[in-house]
């Protein structure tokens, strides 16, 4: 390789990378951009009060939530009053269901008998549409945060629990034999063998739990007894026929859902590098 050829090659490779990146972004976002442009045009032509143009929705979102001072990350007080409580409850609900789901799933998955006995009950509990239980929780718990977090937990825990139990059951018996011959402690077995081998399944459960908890977060806030949150914002705007705000909340929920999922996928990709690589080698 000559010294003259090197910089040339490097430049062209960097150029290729950039072009690839641009192409990737275009492919991903172009359909959405076209849709928004069409929507904008259509709503302007139709001039309907029910369907404000996207530009107006964005303006409203900015005014309501993102026009705060720079040292508050541009968030307004209103954002703090409606987005923060919602996200707080969702995070708490998801955290508790993850911890409880994994712990219970581990216990169930290790005990063939317990799983066999409880499986019908679990499957039954899982298929109950979670929103139908919200009225029950309203009766059982204090209105507000307690009831809302309970609703989130009751819907989000099932996929985590069942997936963990399933993942734990499929631990390679040769690995367990190895742990046994080396007389590893129960804690070490759980930490170094059982949880890592169940992790791919646990993550699949987490993805489901994430979208369920977002749904239940909003749904539980739509009910009477709520005083803040995005769902509350939604009912409020509806009663005042404030359609731009209504649409703003809907768009924000979409963005949040997308964002959370992207973050979870990134974490999963990092944590399960070995899993994807080992699978690729095996095939």
């Amino acid at each position: 390789m000559t010294t003259a050829a090197l910089p040339l090659r490097r430049r062209s490779r960097a150029g290729g990378l950039l072009a690839g990146l641009v192409r990737g972004v275009l492919h991903r976002w172009l359909p959405l951009a076209i849709l928004v442009v069409c929507w904008e045009a259509a709503t302007r032509v139709a001039d309907s009060a029910f369907f404000p143009p996207p530009s107006e929705i964005v303006k409203r979102m900015r005014e309501m939530w993102f026009s705060g001072p720079a040292d508050h990350l541009f968030l307004t007080t209103k954002a703090g009053d409606s987005i923060a409580p919602s996200l707080g409850r969702m995070a708490l609900g998801l955290l508790l269901s993850t911890v409880a789901g994994i712990v219970l799933g581990l216990a169930l998955g290790r005990s063939e008998k317990a799983l066999a006995y409880l499986n019908p009950v679990l499957q039954f509990a899982r298929v109950i549409p979670p929103p139908t239980l919200v009225p029950v929780f309203i009766v059982l718990f204090d209105l507000g945060t307690q009831m809302q977090v309970a609703s989130i937990i009751f819907s989000a825990i099932w996929p985590i629990l069942l997936n963990t139990a399933d993942g734990v059951r499929t631990v390679d018996p040769v690995q367990m034999d190895t742990a046994e011959t080396f007389r590893m402690s129960a804690a070490d077995r759980i930490r170094f063998i059982i949880i890592p081998s169940a992790l791919p399944k646990i993550f699949a459960g987490l993805r489901l739990a994430l979208s369920l908890s977002l749904i239940l977060m909003v749904f539980s806030e739509l009910l009477p007894g709520t005083s803040d949150g995005l769902g509350f914002e939604l009912t409020n705007a509806q009663s005042q026929s404030d359609l731009p705000t209504l649409w703003s909340v809907i768009v924000l929920l979409g963005i949040l859902g997308y964002l959370f999922n992207t973050i979870l996928l990134a974490v999963e990709r990092r944590v399960l590098t070995w899993h994807r690589a080992a699978r690729k080698v095996a095939s």
Partner: protein, 269 residues
């Protein structure tokens, strides 16, 4: 033989998986510090025998006594190199951490455990694979990792189930000599299962030949070769040649007489 303390004592051992009888009426004594090789045709129950000795399965008949106490569960100071070596390694840990993992209960610090792991890896010729993952290695290298893991653990008894099955000839000879060396240096009691008749004679203080249908001991042959062995000289010794022929005759002749291995659906494990 000068060692007298019966370390491992197997009497009337028999095992059946459900209605499928695999082992029957086995009696075997292994002294402290002895290296016993076990040869036998495929499917005669060699792995099952090792699993009974390791305390991983409770035999349906007979008993296994170790240092005077009947085995109930895995005894302390035991290491096993499984036939399914690749499945016994954890794909989410590096090779070094795989080897270091069993050392956790010894209470040594993390750095020390890792140093021990790296030393064990070096002894099987895998110095530069320490930070790789098991699935990045060839089958033979994975097999050496599982051997390194057992050696790093410094067991007083080592059970090896066809430990050199997928390494190349040169590495195989090196590993055979490594086993002889740790056996001599640390006085480790070793039971080694092999398919290879030459290997059984080259390594063993004693060769146990198994027969199949059901699995039982056909013959025990003491190996009167000197303890110091080398790949070229030992294999040319008249005693080696004689023993090899005899073991070969026992294995092949027996296999022909006892019929093919019973085809039995082995549950996917």
């Amino acid at each position: 033989m000068d060692k007298v303390t019966g370390m491992l004592e197997i009497t009337g051992l028999g095992h059946a998986y459900g209605s499928h009888r695999v082992l029957q009426g086995m009696d075997l004594k292994v002294s402290q510090g002895e290296l016993v090789t076990i040869v036998g045709p495929s499917g005669c129950g060699k792995s099952t025998l090792l699993r009974c000795i390791a305390g991983l399965i409770r035999p349906s008949e007979g008993k296994v006594v170790l240092n005077g106490t009947p085995i109930d569960g895995v005894p302390d100071g035991l290491a096993v190199v499984f036939q399914d070596y690749s499945r016994s390694l954890l794909p989410w840990l590096t090779v070094r951490d795989n080897v270091a993992l069993p050392l956790r209960r010894r209470g040594t610090g993390k750095a020390e455990r890792r140093a021990q792991a790296v030393r064990a890896l070096a002894s099987v010729g895998l110095d530069d694979a320490a930070s790789k993952y098991p699935w990045q290695l060839s089958g033979g290298m994975q097999q050496r990792v599982s051997i390194a893991r057992a050696l790093a653990y410094r067991p007083s008894m080592l059970l090896m189930d066809e430990p050199f099955g997928s390494v190349d000839a040169q590495t195989r000879e090196d590993l055979e000599d490594l086993v002889l060396q740790v056996h001599r240096a640390e006085g480790m009691t070793i039971l080694l299962v092999t398919h290879d008749i030459d290997e059984s004679v080259y390594l063993g203080d004693r060769v146990v030949v198994l027969a199949r249908n059901p699995g039982r001991i056909r013959e025990e042959l003491p190996v009167s070769l000197p303890a110091a062995r080398d790949q070229i000289g030992t294999r040319a010794a008249p005693e080696f040649v004689r023993l090899r022929a005899e073991v070969g005759r026992l294995v092949r002749g027996g296999a022909a007489k006892d019929g093919p291995p019973t085809v039995h659906e082995k549950p996917v494990r």
